[in-house]
Symmetry: C2
Subunit: 334 residues, 2 copies
DNA sequence: CCCCCCGATTAAAACGTAACAATCACAAAG
DNA sequence: CTTTGTGATTGTTACGTTTTAATCGGGGGG
């Protein structure tokens, strides 16, 4: 019940609190004999440093905040895995915030990060407003954008080229002999959705097709359920194109199920391509052609940039990194 | 850069720091007129409470720690969603730790929790050793077990009956006319795996079958990849039973893909049942029969118990809650 | 033998907030 | 006019750590 403090350790080991602090933070400053004695006292008493006191005094903590759009999407859990690995290698803890695509929840998470005085924030912003992020930077909290390109050069950002990815997807569908094309997407405010659409249109233009032919179906969520609803809708309306590009794999998997349930064969009747190449894409029975992103790397690199910025504010050079996606062809496309 | 403190707000609003603190923590104690004035000054100056200072002074924080075994498993993201919803309703933030099944990582996460002086910890323990948890309790940190029954009555725990679940699964396979039966599982140290196996054996005994007939295939991980490997192994060895019970849906989905790739028809040749009923279970083309758990509820209830224990240490009565699972029959079983 | 220096250690002063007792203003009761 | 009560506000102290400057104890050079 009574928590043991640095003073208790000091008293027990016969040294001053300052020395215990040194053992904890700059072991090289203290003589080996005392260091060993203090360390064993720490274990003996079960002392655990009071992170808050430490943060208060030091002015910053050993934590970073990670704010993602949908923790239920394997894409983001993979990113989070990369973040966590790098962070824990460097002695940082990760506070994970899930915005669920809601601006309000995102703001609440950022407030928590600010209260906790996290060292830095990794964020996949749910909209384009940079105001909140500048506010954080004004508080001395570094911010790195994840899966989002930087509009400006005074910040770090790690992204994957979604225009290229969209273009690759649709080019592949056209190569397969697609006649009519559809793009199944999420809320249009999401940048990823916009960019992938832009890429899709470019690919159509490059193939001498009229971009406006691309039938857009925007769903309110980017989940498997939404994908299945989209399938039912297209079939009921009789507007089913013979090639479909879904803005992520969850939508595509739902679409796949909806199509098959209605007796539509994939890929014979309809070609289907997803985005992200999540694990389940290859595990679905008609395995899903998809656009792979270096997801785990995205998290790793973003975190490395963030911690570099935190630890070397003087020499740090902002970087805007843009990865390229890969097309992974499987069974769901002709 | 310069952080604005409670004193700055006080000076600007013409009150004492104590009053600002009251506005923040006990608004009812302060006159409406001053409260409004202080609140607007807070907004004007962009003041954000220093969580660490607050925690240091108050002796505890407004955060809870959540330690899960595999954040890549949708089961746990669903649990996490329940946790987060309740926590944020009550003004708590969640620090998420992923143990990846590694005891060392789990310990590191718990250390972070202890350093952060979280108010309480929700944990799906990766093994049966209660030592670390008692240590936390010794520090005044409440602990609630999630998806794990309590061995003792001096703690809260929320679980789902895995013995019943395993039994339901195998009983269903037997009803479908299963001849030979297999159980595809993860590391045997995981309690969930053990309990589901026990249930499976009970169901066999109840049907007059010899429990030892159950072919156990233990994989080192509970992922789709591992499931597919298990399929390849069983097929290569020629020991494929005609009914398979997988310890979770990820294994089952991998198994499904492995079987279909090898030309084994599901459910005609092999009946397949998973566990957890994750979203992807119903989205896979041969939709997966599975054992559904009230996953989101698990997270919600556990968090409610935890916060009750934290906030009313006097009147709190420990509870051990055991939910019952449901069988969800789909296409993958006869 | 004195002085200086060096490494090791310590004392003391913050960091920003919460909580408690003390004070204040003021109105109602006597 | 004094007392009492009440609600609002303030002053002060402590939380546990880090950090800086100060101190200590010797060893070596002069």
């Amino acid at each position: 019940m009574t928590t043991v403090s640095i003073k208790d350790v000091a008293a027990r080991a016969g040294v001053s609190p300052g020395t215990v602090s040194n053992v904890l933070n700059r072991p090289e400053k203290v003589a080996d004999s005392t260091r060993i004695r203090v360390e064993s006292t720490i274990r003996e008493l079960g002392f655990v440093r009071h992170g808050s006191a430490s943060t208060l005094r030091a002015g910053h903590s050993r934590t970073v905040g990670l704010s993602v759009i949908d923790i239920g999407n394997p894409f983001f859990t993979d990113v989070a895995a990369g973040v966590e690995d790098v962070a824990s290698e460097r002695g940082y803890a990760v506070i994970l915030g899930n915005s669920s695509g809601s601006r309000m929840k995102e703001e609440r998470n950022l407030l928590v990060f600010a209260e906790q005085r996290v060292r830095g924030v990794l964020i996949t912003p749910s909209d384009e407003d940079p105001g909140r992020l500048d506010q954080l930077r004004g508080r001395g909290i570094c911010v790195v954008l994840v899966d989002h390109p930087a509009e400006r050069s005074d910040q770090c950002a790690v992204a994957v080229n979604d225009v290229t990815g969209g273009s690759m997807a649709v080019a592949h569908l056209l190569e397969g002999g697609a006649g009519s094309l559809g793009y199944v997407t999420g809320p249009p405010v999401i940048r990823q959705c916009q960019d992938r659409k832009r890429g899709a249109e470019q690919a159509m233009a490059a193939a001498g097709r009229e971009p406006r032919e691309l039938l857009e179906v925007a769903m309110p969520a980017m989940t498997a359920k939404a994908g299945q609803q989209a399938a039912e809708m297209l079939i009921a309306e009789g507007t089913l194109p013979d090639a479909l590009f879904c803005a992520n794999d969850l939508l595509a998997l739902g679409m796949l199920r909806g199509l098959l349930q209605a007796g539509v064969r994939v890929p014979q009747d309809v070609s289907l391509i997803g985005y992200d190449d999540i694990d389940f894409a290859s595990a679905s029975t008609v395995s899903l052609t998809s656009v792979r992103q270096p997801t785990y790397q995205l998290g790793r690199v973003a975190t490395e940039l963030l911690l570099d910025e935190c630890d070397n504010p003087g020499t740090h050079a902002h970087q805007q990194i843009m990865f390229q996606p890969d097309l992974v062809v499987r069974e769901s496309t002709r």
